[in-house]
């Protein structure tokens, strides 16, 4: 928490939790869902659920890009990393995600060339420093990350830099959730940093089509509580507004320049969300104009075997849909822990199982 940020101080937190208590006394028991690993992190790091009335449950949803990255993409990344004169570059939390047969970290231990970076722009430098090496950036993330990747690809790039794109776009999965969810979820907390890029409009269908309230929220304790309070207010007055509880970072129209980069570079196609399903128009893929940079088209990324489903016993898919919680899984805290993850929700700090493990959370 940033101590100088008023949204991290006790006073507004206190006031908001009291206001939330009053509204829940009116609405009765209810469940809200968030879609963002960072919201789960904030809830756990600051113990925010302790401040909420017992009748109000905040359910974690499918909001971890590492967790939903399909095994097939990891298999492809490993295949590329094993090619001679080729280095696969990616974010640190992708390394230990299990693919069908192994993780990138295991492949690296066997000699595959894998490097970790903190920003997509680091691979530009790596490609310039090693002109005879083929560099492949394994791009995994939601809108926020993919906007940065698009900004990079839109530049004129060195010929030896390629992209294996497995990014996902959030609004379509919310639509899917609306089709299959059990209707006990009465409102959605939308991810603040994705909305910084896209703005509110892509979520408008929540209001018009499904008539459920949704609120964009930030990540300091009072940001999260403000989002929850605004959702409860909509519910209490019987409205289904799409609201912004994070105006200090999110403009309603989003970041137009970043949106332009994304549209210039990426198209949206059906894409697999690990454990969930194929989701229409949710996978970022490189447009025709960038085919020479596309690792899937320009290089051999075929591992030569079909991708495996999720590990036996792992409940990640049901956790991401809000049907189960980590403690419902027999592996949780036993065979599966952040050091030895079995399922994808345990790998990334954004994953629900990982977050519950690290913060000792045992119930909603």
């Amino acid at each position: 928490m940033n101590p100088s940020d008023p949204f991290g101080t006790p006073e507004p937190v206190q006031a908001l939790s009291e206001a939330i208590g009053k509204l829940v006394a009116q609405t009765g028991p209810l469940r809200l869902m968030h879609l963002c690993g960072s919201h789960e992190h904030a809830l756990n790091q600051h113990g925010l659920r302790q401040l909420l009335p017992k009748e109000l449950k905040i359910i974690p949803g499918p909001g971890c890009p590492v967790c939903v990255c399909p095994a097939e993409a990891i298999d492809q990344a490993i295949q590329l990393a094993k090619q001679p004169q080729t280095t696969l570059v990616t974010f640190g939390d992708m390394l230990r995600v299990p693919g069908s047969r192994q993780s990138l970290a295991q492949a690296k231990a066997e000699g595959a060339s894998v490097r970790m970076v903190y920003s997509p722009y680091d691979c530009l430098k790596l490609a310039q420093e090693q002109p005879t090496q083929t560099l492949v950036f394994f791009a995994v993330g939601f809108e926020t990350t993919m906007a940065g990747v698009a900004g990079l690809i839109a530049q004129s790039l060195p010929k030896n830099l390629y992209f294996l794109v497995a990014g996902r776009y959030m609004p379509p999965v919310l639509r899917l959730l609306m089709e299959i969810h059990d209707e006990t979820i009465r409102g959605f907390l939308l991810p603040g940093h994705a909305a910084i890029i896209t703005g509110l409009e892509p979520y408008r269908f929540m209001e018009t089509q499904y008539k459920l309230p949704s609120v964009v929220a930030g990540f300091e304790p009072a940001d999260v509580l403000l989002g929850i309070w605004m959702l409860l207010k909509e519910i209490a007055q019987g409205t289904a507004g799409l609201k912004n509880a994070y105006p200090r970072a999110v403009r309603d129209e989003g970041n137009l320049k970043a949106q332009a980069w994304i549209t210039q570079v990426f198209d949206l196609k059906p894409g697999v969300w690990r454990g969930i399903d194929l989701v229409e128009d949710s996978a970022f893929v490189l447009r025709e104009a960038y085919r020479d940079q596309d690792a899937l088209r320009a290089l051999n990324a075929d591992p030569g075997f079909p991708a495996q489903g999720h590990p036996p016993g792992c409940q990640c898919h049901r956790i991401m849909l809000g049907e189960k919680q980590p403690t419902d899984c027999g592996h949780f805290g036993q065979a599966c822990n952040p050091q030895n993850p079995i399922g994808p929700c345990m790998v990334s700090p954004e994953g629900t199982c990982n977050s519950w493990s690290r913060f000792g959370i045992r119930s909603l």
């Binding site: 928490m1 940033n2 101590p3 100088s4 991290g8 101080t9 006790p10 937190v13 206190q14 756990n44 790091q45 600051h46 113990g47 925010l48 302790q50 401040l51 640190g92 970790m116 903190y118 304790p221 822990n337 952040p338 050091q339 700090p349 493990s357 690290r358 913060f359 000792g360």
Partner: protein
Amino acid sequence: MSRIELAQGAGGRGMQELLDQVIRPALSNPLLDQGHDGAYLPGQGLVMTTDSYVVSPLFFPGGNIGKLAVCGTVNDLAMCGAEPLWLSLGLIIEAGFEYDDLQKILASLAQTAKEAGVVVVTGDTKVVEAGKGDGIYINTTGIGRSRLAQPFSPKALKVGDRLLINGGLAEHGLAILAARESLPFETPPISDCACLHGLVETMLATCPEIRLLRDPTRGGLAALGNELASASSLSILLKEKDLPIKSPVQAALQMLGIDPLSVANEGKLVAFCPEASAEKLLKVMQAHPLGRDSAIIGEVIERQSAPLWIQTQIGTRRLVEMPLGEQLPRIC
């Protein structure tokens, strides 16, 4: 598990298991079983400790492996309440290592030892084949003389005891990570690597009722708190708002998604003292150059369902798990 994993060297739960299940049982004896940073030897009031240094990179802002090899061992003695006297020095050098670098490391080691008033009295040097070491590994063993009437033990902790720390958390671990991964900082974070025996001497002189000292190295404050609370059969409650963390360190760790509580320190100590002495001890620490940012950061509480807890800035309480072993295994 049939093979040692890298994470078992990182000071968290994996390392604990390795020690408890394999190493201690194989060698168990009353002196080893004291389970402290060093052993209080019978009779003479002497304390002995040993530590091996395998840090990567070898040079980092705020120090290098040579300085670290003196500070780390001197601090282990200091945490036993001992005045450090003698060191041994074991060098394992990889063929091909630059003479220049070796000289720099030794000069820094000698300088640090001189400042600390310890003498290197014996040593051993081995050279291994290229590719079989990471440039250089160093082992130092330290012998010191205890200033305590009674050896420190976690069993001495009492409910209400306060925890004090001598300054900002997480600086060593972040400096190593930044140097290793070439993270783009405008001003690179600097390791807090320092010898703490001088500070300890003044602390013990004013506050002989200190119950226990421990340095939060690998696994950071989270590992220290979990370990000591478990050993004392009590629990520890940290106060988030009182934890000294420099704001650039805080910001960088937040960006990297790393919890400052589980990051290593090399120039920090945690002192446990009775509540009534806490303010007096704090003043003494703050008056010392290595303790200007000292703070009272928590207290010992009755045994709860978990050993270590933190009261968050907004007043909620959550438990702090033993780190499982971090992403940065080679930090010291």
